[in-house]
Every structure is written in C-alpha cells, then in structure tokens.
Symmetry: C2
Subunit: 694 residues, 2 copies
Amino acid sequence: MEPQLHLFYALSFLAVILAFAFTVYLYLWVKRQKTQNARIMEVSELIRQGANAFLRKEYRILAIFAGVAAVVIFVLLPTPIWKGSIVNNIAIALAYIAGTVLSAIAGKIGILVATLANSRAAESAQKGIKPAFLVGFRGGAVMGLAVVGFSLLGVAVVLLIVGDATILLGFSFGASSLALFAKAGGGIFTKTADISADLTGKVELGIPEDDPRNPAVIADNVGDNVGDVAGMGADLFDSNVAAMVSALVIAQSLKGDWNNISMIFCYAALGLIASIIGIATARIGKHGSPTRALNSSTYVTTAVFIVLTAAANLIFEGFSWRIWGASVTGLLVGVIIGLTTDYFTDDSKPIVRRVAEASNSGAALTILSGISYGLISALPAMVGIAISAFASYFICAPMGPGYAIFGISMSAVGMLSIVGMIISNDAYGPIVDNARGLAEMGGLGEETIRIADELDSAGNTVKAVTKGFSIAAAGLTVISLLGAFMSESNVVLAEAGRELITGFDIMNPNVFFGILVGGAIPAVFSAMLILGVDKNAQRMVAEIRHQFNTIVGLREGKEGVKPDYDKCIDIATSGALKELIPAGLMTIIATLLVGFIGGPLSIGGFLLGNIVSGLLLALFMSNSGGLWDNAKKYIEAGNEGGKGSDAHKAAVVGDTVGDPFKDTAGPSINTQITVVSLVASLMSGLFVAFSLFG
Amino acid sequence: MEPQLHLFYALSFLAVILAFAFTVYLYLWVKRQKTQNARIMEVSELIRQGANAFLRKEYRILAIFAGVAAVVIFVLLPTPIWKGSIVNNIAIALAYIAGTVLSAIAGKIGILVATLANSRAAESAQKGIKPAFLVGFRGGAVMGLAVVGFSLLGVAVVLLIVGDATILLGFSFGASSLALFAKAGGGIFTKTADISADLTGKVELGIPEDDPRNPAVIADNVGDNVGDVAGMGADLFDSNVAAMVSALVIAQSLKGDWNNISMIFCYAALGLIASIIGIATARIGKHGSPTRALNSSTYVTTAVFIVLTAAANLIFEGFSWRIWGASVTGLLVGVIIGLTTDYFTDDSKPIVRRVAEASNSGAALTILSGISYGLISALPAMVGIAISAFASYFICAPMGPGYAIFGISMSAVGMLSIVGMIISNDAYGPIVDNARGLAEMGGLGEETIRIADELDSAGNTVKAVTKGFSIAAAGLTVISLLGAFMSESNVVLAEAGRELITGFDIMNPNVFFGILVGGAIPAVFSAMLILGVDKNAQRMVAEIRHQFNTIVGLREGKEGVKPDYDKCIDIATSGALKELIPAGLMTIIATLLVGFIGGPLSIGGFLLGNIVSGLLLALFMSNSGGLWDNAKKYIEAGNEGGKGSDAHKAAVVGDTVGDPFKDTAGPSINTQITVVSLVASLMSGLFVAFSLFG
C-alpha cells in the first residue's frame, strides 16, 4: 500500500482522541475514589491551593515573557519584517504562543489530577497496596497522556495549517520557554521549600518531617507537584515536540519524499497508542512489587511500539526499514540507559550501599564518593547516546544525502515514543510522595504508612530511571536539532547565494571558539540555579524562624494555632521566578553573543559544547542526587547504624546537597540545551546576515 | 639578519647553561643557610627520607612501566617493525625513555632542594619575613629552572640528533607518562595522608594538626613535597615539552621554512632567560607582602619575555610578527586567566567570604555554594582559552595554509614561556607549608609561626593562580596537539595513497561518537582518583587507629615513644600507585578502543571531548577546592564565629571534599588529556591502518 500523508494526520488525530478519551476516563476514575478523612481533605486542599497559586503566578510572568518574545519573534523571524513577507512572521509568532499555551494546559491538567490523586491514594492505602498503587499510577497517567496528546495534536495542527516545518520551530520554542520556567522555576520552588523545611524543622526545632506546625510543610508538598508533575511534564512535552520538529525540519529538507513525514506522524501516533496499552495493563502482580509493575508496563509499551511500527512498515511499502531500525535502536538504547541509571541509584545495588558505608567516616566522604560515582555514571549513558547516534547514522546513510541525520532524528523520535509511559511513571512519584505525607498527617495508622512508604520508594527508584531516560532523549534530540540548525542556516545561505555549510569542523577557529564557550554554559546555568535555591532557602528560613518567634502557641502545637502557610508558598514562588530569570537570560544572551560574534559556524560549535558538558553535568547531578537520596533512605531503613547515627547525619548532608542537584539543576539542563538549540535554529537567518567574524 | 637554525640551537643551549648555573648557585645558597634546631633537623630528615622512599618506589614501578611501554613503542611505532625500517622505532623508543628520565631527574632535584629549604625557611623566619621568603622562593626556583632547563635541553638534543620532530612525540609521551604517575600518584599520596591525619588526629583524638604523636603527620608533610613539588613539576615539564613538540611537529609539516622552527627555539630560550631575570629580581618590597613579591616577579618575567622576543623579531628578518602576536596573546591570556582564578579563590574577594557565610547554615550549603562558584569559575578561563585560540588562528592564518594551527601552537608556547616562574611560585608553596609545620614542631615561638603562616598563606593564594594558568596552558597545548595529530594522520594517509583528513566535522558520525565518549573520560578518570584517595585513606585510618591502640604510651605522648611513621608512608605510597594504575590504564584503553573502532576521525572527536570536559572539570575542581580551603582559613582567622564554630565545622567538611578535588583529581586531568593526545598522535598510523568503522 502506498502511504499518503493525510492518512497519518488522520491516524495522529485518532490516537490523540483515544488518548484524550482515556485521559478523561482515568481522571473521572481517580475522582470517583472516596476521601473521608477531614484532616487529609483539609491539607490536600491547602496543597491544591498552593500549587494553583504558584501556577497562576508563574503563568502570569510567563505570559508577559511570552508576549514580549512573540513580538520579537514577529518582528525578526524568520526574516525581519522590513525585509519581506509578513505572513511567515505572523505564523511563527502564533505557533510560538500555541506552544506555550498547550504546554501550560498540560501542566495545569497534571496539577489538577495530582492534587486529587494524592489524598485518594493515601486513603486507598488503607485497603491495601494494589488499589493505592492504581490511584497513584492512574493519576500520573492522566498527565502522561495529556502531555503526549497535546504535543502530537499541536505539531500536527500547526503543520497542517502552515505546511512548513520551519514554522514549527516557533511552536517548539514556545514549548521550551515554558519548560524552562516550569522545570527550573518549579525545581527552585520545590527545593527551597524542602531544604528550608528540613533545616528549620528537623535540624533546629527537632520536629518530625511533615509536621503541620512547620510553616514550610505545605510549600514542601506543593513543591513536589509543581516541580515534579508540572515541571517534568513540561520538560518532556518540550523534548517530545523538539524531537518531532527537528525530524520534520530535516525531513522537509529531503525534498520530494513524503514518506518521511508520514513515518514521523505514524510512529508518533503508534507510540501514543502503545503508551495507552501500556498504561491500561499496569497492575501490581502476584509479587506485589510496585517497582516491578511500573517497569513491566514500560516494557509492554516498548514491545507494543516495536510490533506496531513493524506492522506499519509491512503495510506501507514506502516506509523504510532502515528508518525503523534507527527508531528501534533509539528506543532500546533509551531503555538500557534507564537500566544503567538504576544500577547507580538503586539501594539494592552495591553503589548506594558503598556510599552509605562511606558515610560512617563523615559527610566529606559521603560527598566525595557520591560525586565520584555520579561522574562515573555519566559514562554508560554517554556511550549509549554515542552508539545510538552512530548506529542510526550508519543504518540510514545508504538512503542518500541527508538521510543519515534524519536517521539520528528518528532515533530520538523512537526513544521518545514511550514518553507517555515515562511521564506517567514520573508523575506517579510526587503523588505517592504526597500520599505518604497525608497518611501521616491524617493519622491513618502504621500499616497504611508502611504501604505508602513502599509506593513512595518505588516512585524514587523509577524516577531515577526516567530521569536518565529523559536526559538521553534530550541529548539525542539536541543532536538532531544541530542537524536542523544546519539545514536552516543553509536555506538562508542558499537564498543569499553564499557558500553552504557542509559541516562544523573542529579545526575551524569559529567552531572551536563556540565549542569552548558552549562547554561552560550548562555549568554556569546549573550553578546559578543551585545558588538560586540557596538564596531563596535563606529567605524562607528567616520567615519560618520569624513565624515560630511571633505566632503565640505555634511552637507548642496549641490547638487551633496555625502557621501562615501561604507566606512560605509566596516566598518560594516569587523567589523561584526571580532566581530563574537571570539564569534563563544568561543562556539566551550567550547564544546571541556567540552567534553575532562567530556566525553560524560558532553556533554549531556552541551547540556541541552545550551538548557535551550539558549531558555530562545533567547525568552526574541527577544520578549523584538520586544515589545520595537512596543512601540516606537505606541508612534510615536500619543499616549502618540507622536513624540518628553519625552515618545518618552524614547521609543527610549528602541528601541535602543532592536535592538541588537532582531536582533543580540536573533535569533543567535538558531544557536549557533545548532552548539554546531552538534559539540557534530560529535565529540562524540573523546569524548568517550579521556577525562580526562569521 | 637572516636567522639560521643552528644559531637558535646555540641560543637554547646557552639559556640552558645559564639556567643550570643559576640553579646550582641557588641550590648552594639555600644549602648555606643555617639550621640549628635539633627537633626541626630531625623531622626534616624524616620528611626527606619519606619523600625519597616514595620517589624510589614510584620510579621503580615507573621503570617497569616505561620498560614495557618502550618495548611496545619499539615494536609498533611509528610503523610496526615487520613493515619497514627499524631505525625510527629505535629512535622513538629511546626518545621515550629520555623523556621519562629527564622528567624524573627534574622531580628528584625538586624534592632534594625542597626538603632542604623547608627547615631553612623555618629557621630563617626567626630573623624576619624577608630572609624566610627568599629561602622558600629560591628553593622553589631551583625546581622551576631545572624543569624548564631539562625540557628545553631534551627537546633540542633529541631533535638535533634525529632531525625529525615526529620522534619527539615519543619524548613528549615519556614526559607525560611520568607526569601521570607523578601528579596523580603524588596527588593520591598527599591527600591520603592529609585526610587520614585530619580524620584520626583532629577529629577522633582531638590532637592538633602537625602533632608528632600522629603516625600520619610525616606522611602528610612528605605528601606536600611529592604531590606539589615533584608532581606539579612533572606536570609542567610535560605541558612545556608537549607545547614545544606540537609546535615543532606542525612547523615541520609547513615544509621549507626553517624560520618557524628557529622561532620556537628562540622563544623558548628567551622565555627561560626571562624567567631567570624574574627569579633574580624577586624580593619582598617595602610593603612586605610575599603575595605581591611572587606576583610582581611573574609580571617582570612576562614583560621581559615580550621585550626580548620583540627584539629578536627586530633582529631576525625572517621572524614573523604575526607569530609573535600569537605568542604574546597566549601569554597575556594566561596571565588574565590566573587573575580571574584569584578572584574566585582569594579570601579578600567576595566569593570565598560568601561560601564562609553559607557555612553558617551547615555543611550542605558550604558544598553547594562551593560547587556552584567552582562551576561558574570555569567560564572566564574557557572563554579566555577560546579567545586566545581564536585570535592566534586569525593572526596567523594569512601566512598560508597550516599557519593558523601553527599560530595556536605558538600561542601555547607563549603562554608557557613563563613556566619557569610559574613552577618556582608553585614549589614555593609546599616549602613554606612544611616550614610552618616545622616551626611549630620546633617550638620557634609565636612570631616565627606568624611569619611562616603569612608565607604559607601567600603560597596558597599563588597556588590557585598557577593552577589556573597551568590548566589553561594544557588546554591550549592539547588543542595544538589535535593539530599535530591531524598532521601525523595525514602523513600516514598520504603514504597509503588515501584521502587526507581536512578536518573533524561534528556532523560526521565517527567524530561525534568520539566526542561523546571522550567527554565522559576525564569525569571517570577524576572519579577513579578521588575514589582511590578514599579507599587509601580508609586503609591508613585503620593503621593509625591500630598504632594508637597497640603502641603503649603513644596516646599520652610519653617521652621517647614514637609512632611508626614509615608504615604510614608505606601505605600511602603503595596505595597511591595501586589506585593510580587502573585510572591511567582506563584512559589509554579508552583511547585505543575508540581509535580501533572509529579510526582517526573518532580520535579527533575523542580528543575534543576530552578537552571540553577535561578543562571544565579541571577548572571546577581546582577552583572549588581552592575556595573551600581559603573559606576554612578565613573562618579560622576569626570570621563567622571562628575556630570551633558550626560554620568552621561545615567549612572543614568543605575543605576535606576540596582536598582531592584540588590536589589530586583537578590538576591530574591536565596530564590525562595530554597523555591521551600523545597516545593518539603516536598511534595515528595504526588507527589509520586498522579500524572497524574508520
């Protein structure tokens, strides 16, 4: 059968409709679960209000930012309005706005369901682990399906309307801008609250975690939602869109063969369907292990995707098996990277135990060993990404010029095909984490808390894996964005009648200049976020101390006396957004500076430098953070002297260092390198036209 | 006047003779200074014996390693012996051995004088800061001049004999192999001893630093010498040789113009003469600041070098002003990078104070803020290296094909022209650090200790600067080694009648594969060294506890009861060498794997990946370590609650984390990337001939 593009638009819309229908079903299912405990309902309401307050404020600032950016885009891109037709400029600006809006809606839906699911998961845990798991998982799945549905819908609709993949770069940039706010802003929020709550509550006052007297306790729970649900969702919305868009931009440059574009939509749609099947089959089996349930549904999704795409290739003659091979390679490498991440962060494996053991000799050795293993953990993932790019290049190169890079971009699309499942697993984490806190505050008894603990621990384990996966996916995506950047620059160069770029030669001084500067940017970006958490936490600690000193009866826990939770949420919110802006601006300004100094060749190098050091730092920070967290939990489970021992104190220092590593800086680097890549592609025309040494 | 090569050989030998004569004079001057205090003489003797014991053992292992390596080199390089003439193979193997031997001799001389100068500086401090400074500085200068003298001598003699710069790669590889042992091995030794002494002495037993009851105290002092004197000397011997050799290899490929080779020797010789002048003028001025004295003699050297080379260019018509410009650019950028490093690590500047302030809220914030500022500190240095490469490329590109890369290599030669001065400043540090300990153990009184402290503090400040400088120099050198690698590969490709390499295109999958794998290697290497320190420290801690438990009267400090210092030195020595070997092998094996899988293009990428992440990590680790060290000292000087406060405890954790960062892993990465680059250049023929996908 000869494939035709409109068929795959139809398939995409069908998949989106299925996904949305299933999303609605899951949402209503979660909502139907009972809540009775008054205390839980009250706290859960506070969390919901706090999360929404953050989103409102974040979206308000983002609306200003996006408005300004849309105007700049309209004036300058793809070509300055005084230089040609205005139609494309309008299209790209609108696409940009659409990207931000769809991502924001997906984030809002995620928060909506997560703040419903947390209390319901807590109460279901009274009936056993199976129903509680299902509530947590299905709550997460709402977010997963919404994100993937909206990203496929957005890409398909924009392309259908404008018929030019270049305009989609605007859509993708919209998604990235929002992701930068959501991920980095949410990351600063959540760790500000977490660290301040720990420093004042556990350390200074000696009250337990999740104690309602602590003014920061609600902010801490809100943080889980805005950081991990909304933030991670926006991050993967962004990666998913960027992977599809870069594949589409490259496919469009391979003129004349519509099969390529058909395949992109076909595979994306089948990935979404595979995720629906994977989610529908997720259940705790005989052994009752939630970790196993989460992993096995990922494997189901992977297998279904491979089978469905193979079937598509059998049905449609124009579909290339080579491209199928590239996609499957990407997917398998993604899964393998997830597993190696697990090796470094799972407390049943030797690394976490060694760090726990080292903690016996003091915090310095906790830090040193955690940093060392984190650095080592970057190797398998980077080699995996290298192999996946290398293999898909060689698989597709025989198809003709330009196909090799297309192969890499389809490898990224393949890796991200299971992203719906990945987000579901990821959003599951904060829901059950919240549920654990609620079970404690609601006094649901020891057995329920134990079950909630088990669910939470599975969330932590799986979170490390999904983080490894999403960093790898971002890496591969950014590589294909490098290809997209080259195509874009060449379009402009060809129009200007200038020599085309055939590659970015390391020995070229412009490229080399870009590489070295680009290599430093993710380091500075992540450092600025960590310092942001630092500063913001200091403000919140001051506020908490102030409340304990001024609110009569609070310290003693007098009946009816409540701290001012909102004040803390407010500090976390405005601080997070304030600290985030300089970091975001720094990366964009650095890109512009390098581009206007060294031209497109320097930008090619700059993107590469960002990829190398960005991947290294993201993997290092995420994995070190994950292993410190689990080393602490391993000690708290009674090993190496257990809670209160010297080893435990040292492990707490490790965990505190790891918090902003794994939840603020590490995963934000993904977004940062995507933003830089998209700014580069969008501005390619200007860099070609105006640069000092270009 | 028309320059002639033999003239510059003569100039080089003259400079070497001058340097050696001055070295002998300084050595005898140091030796003539009086020592009288029996206790100081005794301890100083123990340090000398320990350092020599380490060197003997290290050199014995190195002799085996070098023997094996020499045989492998003889059999395989530049072409396998079964494939052609054997003469070059003999030459390259002998050059390799010469490289190791000269570096070893320089290291030995450094240890010889440093272990003489420490006690003399301690006793001179009784007479005031000026004479004590002079002893410390002149002791360091012996090492500085010996290193530079031997490197220039070795390069000139080998080239004079064999007449082929390619053979010099063997010499340079010899220097690198030794540097890898000396720097990384010495680094593990010194931090093993330092951390163990602190953990058991200060923390567990509550006895002061440098207390003679602690069995690790002598090992700690020995460590300063083997790590900072011998290690740093070997490191800069290596960088200096590598810079000259890569310039010579590239100059040789620019056939027909002997002026280029003449300029390399001329500038190297003038750099050595400038260092002699700089060293001769070093004196504490009216303000009595040792830091200022050290810095001002660096500026004198810089100015003298610029003037002398300008004069040479005026005298010799064939000398290019463009190349002069490239050299001067490199030198100035090196000085500027040193100054920015100072900004991040000097306790009179805001960064160190902010980290000290953050320590009030616990160790986690000390670590987080130190890591953040360390990451940020990489930016100016990386931009500086990028600018220096970019500028020297453009300055020299108009001279013809190949000259642009030659410009970069001459920029590295320029930056390293003042290396004699840099090593002198660097070796000054451990001498006065030892002197401080000796002054305390010898009971020389408060005022003497205060003077020794001031000298020590200047050493620390200047050390951070010289580290920034040497990382930058290594970066620039490795970039020119990338050029040397390309020339070498092309020689082989041309012989085989295959297509030449014109560059390393990022979009080429082999290159890209190499880049990603290469980016992970310095991370893994540094992590292995840190874990090595960790493991080794655990062994030594066990030994110290054992001695305190079994030697009767040791804990109480009974007259005549002495710990077994040798045992600790022994553990540090064998542990250091044992932990170092896997890390060294890993980098070499990774290079071979990448080369035999992806061929020379992958190796080009691999080197680039090493440069980007190597520079980033080296700068980050050195500067974080330096700033933690100084933040601790700043608190100990009475700020933020002073000694014993919570801030101080947190700062001690930071300092302990920083120790292996700044003295083991950070500065070893230099050597690691140089070794990788040289292995690549040496093996280029084999990679061209045998590779799976090359």
